[in-house]
Amino acid sequence: MIPLEWYLILSSVLFCVGLYGVLARRNAIAIMMCLELMMTSITINLVAFWRYGNVANLSGQVFAVIVFAVAAAEATVGLALAISIYRNRDTVVANDLNLLKW
């Protein structure tokens, strides 16, 4: 049987890779993709703990589903924002979006 630890480490790896992407990528849409990665890593965690915890209690799965919903919503709004910004400012580079500078 696969130990729980493995899943968690996989999830961690995936999370950190996503984190790196979020912090380092210039393209806003790429950042969005990395966010999806991080989100996915969380679902792995949730499902793994369900599987190794009380199986009758479906909270883990339910939360995973809700995370999907949140991810979908986030993607929708985020991408709409990206397109809107692109339309107005002709860029999707996150570094250029610094209107709130000091």
Partner: protein, 722 residues
């Protein structure tokens, strides 16, 4: 129309004329003088209707005069009433004042060169030399106001309304004396009209404020200012006569009388407030006639005649201090004015001093209780002095035209520049001669003789021998300087080209002269003393006196003095003597040239210089009153008291608080402000330094967050695990 309403209406037309000219007619010269002339003629007609209906009422009509009033000012539960009344006294003024005014108005039309076009060289505010006066309309407006004020004063039934007319006349005299306000003289000692105007107004104002006090005093004592209500109230008159005032030796009535008399001193140019009158000659000549004959100076005399019951109160029980003062000032002024007049060269100035002197006669007469004689002289003087002034104006006008013809620059008013005008200006000559003889008191045929004789006779009859002597000398001098004036002006040969080219003026100027000449002769016959041989009976036993005393309550009416020959002989002697001496000195040997020294000057020497300089009264006043007033105003009250002392104290207090404020601010800076200030500095510095992390980039923020989480995690790990 009933008579009382007519009295209200008498002063109204000139006042309306003033408003009409000022507001609407000021661009049309013909319309202006038409309005003005019409208005005074209306007043004249209404006055005479009133006067003759008063005559019809009989001698003692004064107890129940034409009278009408309105509530003018509420005073608590009572009212100060304003009204008009015509009684025996002011009916006489209403007889001659409007007549003289109409004459003056008519005369002004010619005098202001009406009919000629406006000339470019005639600037507004200077005497016109070429064409009609540029301010022609304004002149008639002011004259109208003047006439309206004089008539208001005449018909007033109370002292306050009289004062209103009195002061408005003061304003008009100011405006009219200063009418040629733009005139300048090369001679620095000469008084330009604008200064003369101020001098006139202020000198009379000195007197007017005193008179105001007198009015206030009378009002507070009597509770009314109505002449009739005061004089015919025996109880009140008794109180006024017997209660002592705050000044020892004066009863209330005496003090009121004295204060009111000061008003007359100013208005009628008595010594020591006479100084304004000669300078008032700077005004146009019709104005001089108006001020010095018909209106203003008469008003002064009229006022003390009107207030005679107050002034003479207590006089029957021994000497009354007020009357003594009045007599002294009158007699002194009569002599004083006459002496100055003999040394003047300006044709109008001679008349001005003559006016002062003649007014002195009236004042002295009133001071001696010669109520009738004073009034009588007031009337005759108005006629012949108006005549003389307008005659002198006619002379000046003629000479000015001569000047204009020959392009000569001389003083057209200086008698030394005249001579020989008799043949060139015959009407002016004959009328001026009549006026001059009347002024001198030429026996029997001139009005001036009868009125002056009345005064001298009264003085003699009541044993005022000193006054009698003084007045006789003054009368002698009067005749002398009159003859001097006539001789210098009309006789001999012309001493300048201008005089040579002078010619008679048009009818608007000569007609008034002729009319007034008539009155200067015949007005005297109504006042001939009843006991005068032949003539007294012939002229109706002195109707003037019988009429006039009706203005007074019965117990105050003066008795006619007993006729004696001495004063009559004296007055004939001084009149003829003066005329003769004058003729001998100036008429028989006329001056040959304008530069010739006056023959009397050698005789009198320094005294002449003193007379020529009017006893240096002006200089004395300037040094004693005007300069100190400047100093007080500019230095004492303003610089020393206000700016120095009061503001000094304020600034001291202010600077004290200022310094206290500066000090406490310094303390605050160190003790109170510094710590929070430094803290605030620190916060700002930190903020300045830290603001750079606020890049506006979401990834940077996220990075910080994650780093922070990492650090917290590490820390947490150490704490929990360690």
């Amino acid at each position: 129309m009933n008579t009382t309403l007519l009295i209200w209406l008498i002063p109204v037309p000139p006042l309306i004329s003033f408003l009409l000219i000022v507001l609407f007619a000021n661009r049309t010269k013909a319309l202006s003088h038409s309005i003005a002339l019409t208005s005074v003629i209306m007043s004249w007609i209404m006055s005479w209707i009133v006067v003759f209906s008063a005559f019809a009422k009989g001698y003692y009509y004064g107890e129940n005069p034409f009278h009408s009033y309105i509530h003018w000012l509420p005073t608590g539960t009572t009212y100060l009433d304003m009204g008009v009344a015509v009684d025996n006294l002011n009916s006489i003024l209403l007889f001659f004042v409007p007549l003289c005014i109409v004459a003056i108005f008519l005369y002004s039309i010619g005098y202001s060169n009406f009919g000629k076009p406006v000339h470019d060289h005639d600037l507004p505010g200077t005497p016109p030399h070429h064409g009609v006066d540029p301010l022609y309309s304004r002149f008639f407006a002011f004259l109208s106001l003047f006439a309206g004020a004089m008539l208001t004063l005449t018909v007033a039934d109370n002292l306050l309304l009289l004062f209103v007319g009195w002061e408005v006349m003061g304003l008009c005299s100011y405006l009219l004396i200063g009418f040629w306000y733009g005139r300048e003289y090369d001679d620095p000692k000469a008084t330009p009209p604008r200064i003369a105007a101020i001098k006139a107004f202020l000198t009379t104002r000195v007197a007017d404020v005193m008179m105001l006090l007198g009015i206030a005093y009378l009002y507070s004592q009597a509770g009314t200012l109505n002449f009739h209500d005061i004089f015919f109230n025996e109880e009140l008159m008794y109180d006024l006569t017997h209660n002592p005032s705050m000044i020892a030796g004066f009863t209330v009535a005496n003090l009121i009388g004295l204060l009111l008399f000061i008003g007359t001193v100013g208005k009628s140019a008595q010594f020591p407030l006479h100084v304004w009158l000669p300078d008032a000659m700077e005004g146009p000549t019709p104005v001089s006639a108006m001020i010095h004959a018909a209106a203003m100076v008469s008003a002064g005399i009229y006022m003390i005649i009107r207030m005679f019951p107050i002034i003479s109160a207590g006089g029957s029980h021994g000497p009354n201090p007020t009357m003594e003062i009045i007599t002294f000032i009158g007699a002194f002024t009569a002599l004083f004015g006459a002496t100055i007049a003999i040394a003047q060269y300006d044709v109008k100035r001679v008349l001005a001093y003559s006016t002062i002197s003649q007014l002195g006669f009236m004042v002295a007469a009133l001071g001696m209780g010669a109520y009738v004689a004073a009034t009588f002289h007031l009337m005759t003087h108005a006629f012949f002095k108006a005549l003389l002034f307008m005659g002198s104006g006619s002379i000046i006008h003629g000479v000015e035209h001569g000047m204009h013809d020959v392009h000569e620059h001389i003083d057209p008013q200086d008698m030394r520049n005249m001579g020989g005008l008799k043949s060139r200006m015959p009407i002016t000559y004959w009328t001026f001669l009549i006026g001059g003889l009347a002024l001198s008191g030429f026996p029997f045929v001139t009005a001036g003789f009868w009125s002056k004789d009345e005064i001298l006779g009264d003085a003699w009859a009541h044993h005022h021998y000193i006054v009698f002597t003084v007045l006789c000398i003054a009368a002698f001098l009067t005749a002398y300087y009159t003859m001097r004036q006539i001789s210098l002006t009309f006789y001999g040969e012309p001493r300048t080209k201008s005089a040579e080219h002078a010619h008679e003026n048009n009818w608007t100027m000569t007609l008034p002269l002729v009319v007034l000449s008539f009155f200067a002769i015949f007005a005297g016959f109504i006042g001939v003393h009843g006991e005068f041989p032949v003539l007294g009976q012939l002229f109706g036993n002195n109707p003037f006196e019988h009429w006039l005393v009706g203005a007074l309550p019965k117990d105050m009416q003066p008795k006619p003095f007993t006729f004696t020959w001495f004063p009559v002989i004296m007055s004939i002697a001084v009149a003829l003597g003066g005329l003769l001496v004058g003729y001998l000195v100036y008429g028989r040997n006329p001056l040959k040239s304008a530069d010739q020294v006056d023959p009397v000057k050698k005789l009198l020497g320094p005294l002449w210089t003193m007379l020529e300089n009017k006893y240096y009264v002006d200089e004395f006043y300037y040094a004693a009153f005007v300069k100190p007033a400047h100093w007080i105003g500019e230095t004492l009250t303003f610089k020393i008291i206000d700016r120095g002392i009061i503001d000094g104290i304020i600034h001291f207090v202010a600077s004290f608080f200022w310094k206290a404020g500066v000090g406490s601010a310094a303390v605050e800076q160190v003790a109170v402000d510094a710590p929070p200030d430094r803290m605030a500095d620190g916060v700002r510095w930190t903020g300045d330094a830290m603001k750079y992390i606020q890049t506006g980039r979401i990834q940077n923020y996220l990075m910080y967050t994650v780093i922070a989480i990492a650090l917290i995690g590490v820390l947490f790990g150490f704490l929990v695990a360690g």
